[in-house]
Symmetry: C2
Subunit: 595 residues, 2 copies
């Protein structure tokens, strides 16, 4: 039995157009093509190619994995053909700027396609996935020549991009980077060093691979303020964009990993490789943050994309597998046993996956649309609000989505029982593939520190005020909504807990910054739980407000899942408040010699 997956187009459309402001996006400068019919047609079309061509490669890709031959990485069978089909369909051009051959559709549209890709085949999705970030950096910081050289190729999908940050001695702490860049006479640089964990660092899907590399100039100040960013292509090219020499940036090894085995994770050796400075000397982190924010939102997708897959697999199994009788007596006496979906705990697990998956999807689509607004809205204040919300919620989306996504894949396995542990059902692969998302692009601990230590105090708390203003207004406006005690009252209660906890942390931090670090992970969890509760209350409201003739199981499911979420998942905020408020003492007073 292979794990089935159908793209949840209905939910995507619901979120994009009914819950959120998808219709309004088409009115923004440059997004004229993104009218509702077009976007829906794109979703349908993408679902088709992804279900047909990319999904079937997932399981064999896991089994075959990648292998290194010399300095070449050989991908699993079928990846090259599927990638070619993908770029021939124009999918890499979707959100690329029109002047470089792209369709200039909103980021938020591409985000939905990214989700489908990731649900179908996480390893595959990473080959085109990282190119977006590289393109964005070049678009913002690159010279005209760079833009003209690289951006059309990225849009075509014939060249791809990578991020080369990590070295053996530095992951989180990029100030420790040792890769060196020596200036050449022609204005270019020569880079030498070794990068590790480079996703898509080597493969044969594209004609060229464009590495964005962090390195240190000879006159660099120590630490993070001495890091510069370079473009280092696998193949150099002439002014006409034709490939010339092989640049000595080569793959020395690939990693053997827990999952995403069809994704090529490379050690890249730079041996006097030619590179081009991008942006200002020593200011490389600016560009990297652009890539990292894009990558963090993309990583956030991996959480609910995996959750969706786990839900579909586990639901089919729970409806099919006959075992034991319902606690209140046989539901299907003509069968030898009842399907396991009659058991309260199986329903609890299924609804947990569903509530996290759809709730995190809503939160992520919201912020994806805010990013489009931040870029293209006519009103500056609205742009600024959107940017603030995106900055605040990016670490939440990265960490909360991937934590709950991992939990969801594990619940999926649990619903399958022992069969979940066996490779043939595909559930255990989901667990292995999804685990990486809590680690890369900054561990979830680092995301938590970004939220609590950087985003909260930023601009005197302006980001948080933007968020609370929205949520408070929603709560106030809908305090008397239908079945308020199921939806809005639990949300209001949780928002108060979040405010109290935020204030506690702000006060405690004045006394000892370790309180911030001690609170970080629990605080981000609380933030995610509350934000997703806000999404569920909004979804329930939209569903309630449909006309009677529009009402169907989909809208009913929204209301009932919202109700489940408030009853069974949101109460975690209570314990999180308690653990945050016990502070840092039990951690920092613990004697080092007692570990």
């Amino acid at each position: 039995m292979t794990l089935e997956y159908k793209v949840p187009v209905r939910d995507m459309e619901f979120l994009y157009f009914e819950l959120l402001n998808g219709k309004g996006l088409a009115d923004l400068e440059g997004f004229g093509e993104a009218d509702e019919d077009t976007v829906k047609a794109i979703l349908e079309e993408a679902a088709k190619i992804i279900e047909t061509d990319i999904l079937p490669l997932n399981e064999p890709g896991d089994q075959q994995g990648c292998r290194l031959e010399g300095t070449e990485v050989i991908l699993p069978d079928g990846f090259k053909e599927a990638y070619t089909k993908y770029i021939d369909g124009g999918w890499t051009a979707l959100t690329a700027p029109a002047q470089y051959g792209g369709m200039n559709l909103p980021y938020s549209v591409g985000y939905m396609i990214g989700e489908m890709m990731c649900s179908a085949n996480q390893s595959f999705s990473m080959y085109p996935g990282l190119t977006h970030g590289a393109a964005k950096v070049i678009e913002i910081f690159g010279s005209e020549a760079m833009k003209n050289t690289y951006l059309p190729k990225f849009s075509e999908g014939t060249w791809s991009g990578t991020m080369c940050l990590t070295e053996a001695q530095c992951g989180t702490d990029l100030g420790l980077i040792q890769t060196k860049a020596e200036p050449l006479d022609d204005g270019a640089y020569e880079l030498t060093g070794t990068k590790i964990f480079i996703t898509s660092g080597e493969h044969q899907l594209t004609e060229n691979i464009v590495h964005l590399v962090l390195a240190r100039l000879p006159d660099a100040p120590p630490g993070i303020k001495g890091i510069s960013l370079f473009v280092v292509p696998k193949f150099l090219s002439d002014d006409g964009g034709n490939i010339t020499d092989r640049n000595p940036i080569t793959c020395g090894a690939i990693e053997h990993k827990m999952g995403i085995k069809a994704s090529s994770t490379c050690v890249m050796n730079l041996d006097q490789a030619k590179g081009y400075l991008i942006g200002q000397p020593h200011k490389g982190m600016q560009g990297m943050f652009v890539m990292m924010n894009s990558a963090r939102l993309g990583t956030g997708t991996q959480g609910f994309a995996a959750g969706e897959r786990a839900y579909q697999g586990a639901l089919a199994y729970a409806q099919d597998r006959l075992q034991m009788r319902a606690l209140t007596g046989a539901k299907f006496p003509q069968q030898k046993a009842d399907p396991i979906i009659v058991h309260p705990d199986v329903r609890r697990m299924l609804l947990t996956i569903k509530a996290y998956t759809e709730g995190c999807r809503a939160m992520s689509y919201w912020i994806a649309q805010e990013l489009d607004i931040a870029e293209n809205h006519a009103d500056e204040e609205r742009r600024q609000e959107a940017e603030d919300l995106a900055a605040l919620l990016t670490p939440v989306i990265k960490a909360f989505n991937t934590d709950t996504g991992y939990e969801s894949t594990n619940l999926g396995v649990q619903i399958f029982g022992g069969h979940g542990y066996i490779s043939e059902h595909g559930m255990e692969q989901l667990v292995r593939d999804t685990r990486i998302a809590q680690l890369y692009e900054g561990t979830n601990g680092i995301q938590s520190m970004d939220l609590i230590g950087r985003k909260l105090p930023m601009h005197n708390g302006r980001l948080m005020m933007r968020f609370l203003t929205r949520v408070d207004a929603f709560v106030k406006e809908n305090m008397e909504m239908q079945d308020a005690e199921r939806y809005i009252k639990p949300l209001a209660y949780a928002v108060d807990i979040l405010k109290d906890t935020t204030n506690w942390v702000a006060e405690a931090a004045k006394e000892d910054p370790n309180h911030i670090g001690a609170a970080a992970v629990d605080y981000l969890q609380m933030f995610g739980l509350v934000t997703v509760a806000y999404m569920w209350a909004e979804m329930a409201l939209v569903a309630q407000q449909k006309d009677p003739e529009q009402q169907d199981d989909f809208y009913r499911a929204k209301c009932e899942t919202a109700s489940f979420y408030m009853a069974k998942l949101l109460p975690k905020v209570q314990s999180l408040m308690l653990t945050v408020m016990t502070g840092a003492d039990s951690l920092m007073n613990y004697p080092d010699e007692c570990f």
Copy 2:
């Protein structure tokens, strides 16, 4: 870098002799050999062979896995040699009865050796691991002839045992078993059917494999009341115990699994295989429960055994890996960065692993000793109390230990960051290996139902009263202990929550049995958290009471870890109470068509 592991002998000895009643066990009938010096010598000796001979096979065993050749299963290199050394050392005889060549040491001593084995190499540990249960069933329910045939061989380790319960259509629901047993003229039976997920079903470690098989006699009533238990050896033997014919119970396939790849998990085909009824016809579940309870406590070991391993690996990494500076300023300014153990969140993760690992170990050793008391104590009332406590806590030990063990291995990976996801560090293998423990021997959901639906109401709540009597007495007696607000007061508060929640469930169950199923998993989590809190308060008390000259970092660590546990982990009971008390409605009123 291979993952190091040192057997935590000090903690084992502390729990066994200082916290618990190890000294008293030696006074019980038949346990005369188990004096403190002997037990300590055994632990030291076992640690040596396990660290030297079994630990190094763990990583290669994962890489090589098992393979099927015809109907033979080939294990990874070195397993046969290590197993031979293990039985030559007499380790399989440790807890076997003296009259069958065993050393008759307490079960609780064998339990500690089982932990070491499992930490070192979970796959390997399962080969001798299941034999204990098979031996116990034959000891209790077998004929004299069976005992004389099998028990000496089990004690020697030259024959091994399995449990053959599961079939494709039944795991939890054994009433659906289809394997048939037809009576033969000689008093034996002929069994035909297919069993799946048979751990150690086929291998070449032993001369014979003795399968305990559940099957249905021709006149069997339907369902669980028509299941009989049979001994079906791989090789038949004559009266002298000499092997004669190959019995047609053969391995048809082995499973490809997420982890424990060196453990042979077999599909076993019985094609008119000869078997011998054990116990009464149709009463096979009695014997199986004996095996399952032993297997469940053994599975509970796998949780904290993995946690120990994750802790040791992650601690070494956290002390070694330099990245970023402490939030309060550089701790090691002479180094390029501080070791990551200075960061509050890394300490939180390490202490979470440590608190769960040592707390679950304490709870499990306690119950292992109670089982010895239940078997051999002179006083009947004391035996009954011990049996009640063991019956109550067996599902908690199985489920809570393996849930927290899995969490611990995932925290271990998280501390390693991206390096945790790479095979070479060994952390990801721990995650994959440990995941099975939440699934087999009854999923943790089934354990939760056993606790709340079976053990709580049993004998009018007598089991729970035994437990609460102990805990309440401890709390009352020590309400004024040193630093009471750090230890005993949080415990007392959590015990009250457990009592309130238990009463709520008992009342709600009268109205609708689905409230039991809806509460089960959360309730078991709460029960585990409270029991482990009780253990930590006891450990802190013992540590406090040491004379000043005995005080050292070990005892200090006990107090500080207890304090951490109460501050950062125990507060989860608060949210669990809230989610339990929202009942079954959001699950059972959810319309089927809305999934």
